[in-house]
Point group: C2
Chain length 222, copies 2
């Protein structure tokens, strides 16, 4: 069977994509990049990594074709190579959540108790159309700027406690953040509830909103 070598090479090339996904730190960087382009230093800070460590992992991702780089002066901006990569990352999470029992446990540990109500994307649209709810984006400012749900108000989770009065008191609040693995919206709903506000959480987050074809305001990914 002379094609044994060619076949092995083909699968080895495919495995480069898999290898890139085989490290928790890289997945964390990928999750951040799914929200929008970032520089190396920003990514390192957001993921609590050393600069060289972050750079090394980003280059691994780049070699696997999952991210691209653009130079702006001295800074290098990394971005997801395309929405197919975001879809891949989403599918990894889907499979892991469904098949790896420890993922469910780890997710509950990270996200906290299951004490917040969540609604789906269609329900969000319905409540907004009815004028019943305001949509609150609690991600960091730059991520909101890179793209968000149309009509959403941006109050990063760090500033939420001090800016409560900016949210109309007579409306229900629907908070969202990055995605299913993001803790911000959980924290936001708890904080709002503690202040007597009626708040629910969007199931999943902005990544899934975008992947499911819903409209996005602000610059889109290339």
């Amino acid at each position: 069977m002379p094609d044994g070598k060619a076949k092995g090479e083909l699968f080895a090339e495919l495995a480069r994509v898999g290898k890139a996904l085989g490290n928790g730190t890289r997945l964390e960087l990928l999750d951040l990049l799914a929200q929008g382009p970032r520089s190396v230093a920003e990514l390192a800070a957001a993921a609590h990594l050393g600069l060289t460590t972050a750079s090394a992992h980003l280059q691994t991702l780049k070699r696997a074709g999952l991210v691209t780089t653009t130079r702006y002066g001295t800074t290098v901006e990394y971005a997801l190579a395309g929405d197919d990569v975001a879809a891949l990352w989403h599918q990894v999470r889907e499979v892991a959540a469904a098949r790896v029992t420890d993922v469910g446990r780890a997710a509950r540990t990270y996200l906290g108790p299951d004490d917040t109500e969540e609604i789906g994307r269609e329900e969000l649209l319905r409540r907004v159309a009815d004028g019943r709810a305001v949509v609150l984006d609690v991600r960091p400012g730059p991520e909101f700027a890179a793209g968000h749900i149309p009509g959403a108000v941006s109050i990063p989770i760090d500033e939420l406690a001090g800016r409560l009065e900016e949210i109309p008191a007579d409306q229900e609040i629907v908070a969202y953040c990055r995605g299913a693995l993001c803790v911000f919206s959980h924290d936001a709903v708890r904080l709002l509830a503690a202040h007597g506000r009626s708040a629910v959480r969007l199931r999943d987050g902005f990544l899934e909103w975008r992947l499911s074809g819903h409209p996005v305001a602000g610059p889109a990914l290339p």
Copy 2:
């Protein structure tokens, strides 16, 4: 930031799925399993692997939750854990084909020259409905038995040369095999063309047929 540990653990758990995809041999096994359940010995033979090597990789896949095992007497049958895993494998291939330039080159080397005509799934259905074409499944017998396109005729590629007369001469032939990375249908179309038959190839293969929600004959995956 006290949740740093929990977050790291969560991503590390997710990375177990990625790690499982980070080896060409395992991807090859996954590709075979996407066609239907198989025993360890069958998989080892199909992928030209040592028995212990195949067993070790299959257990890695199992630990990552991508496959399940069922015991039948002394033999252990491995199967994909679900269609979400097949979708993940498909998405890996999509991204790799689009983003890793070497994958395109390796695929061409493996699949051979681009000398065969291919048609899409809808076009296949149209030609069959018109009575113009017969559908030919050239995968090994057990894979056909595990599931196939309704109405397809099974002639494994190894036996095709000796069973040409079984195919009606007045019809066009649409050959398919496992998926986009499977060489059988390419070879089949070349062989049929060399014998003066009018033959085209289904784009992609059975995996994509099933994932896109088209009907399947024979036992389906759990």
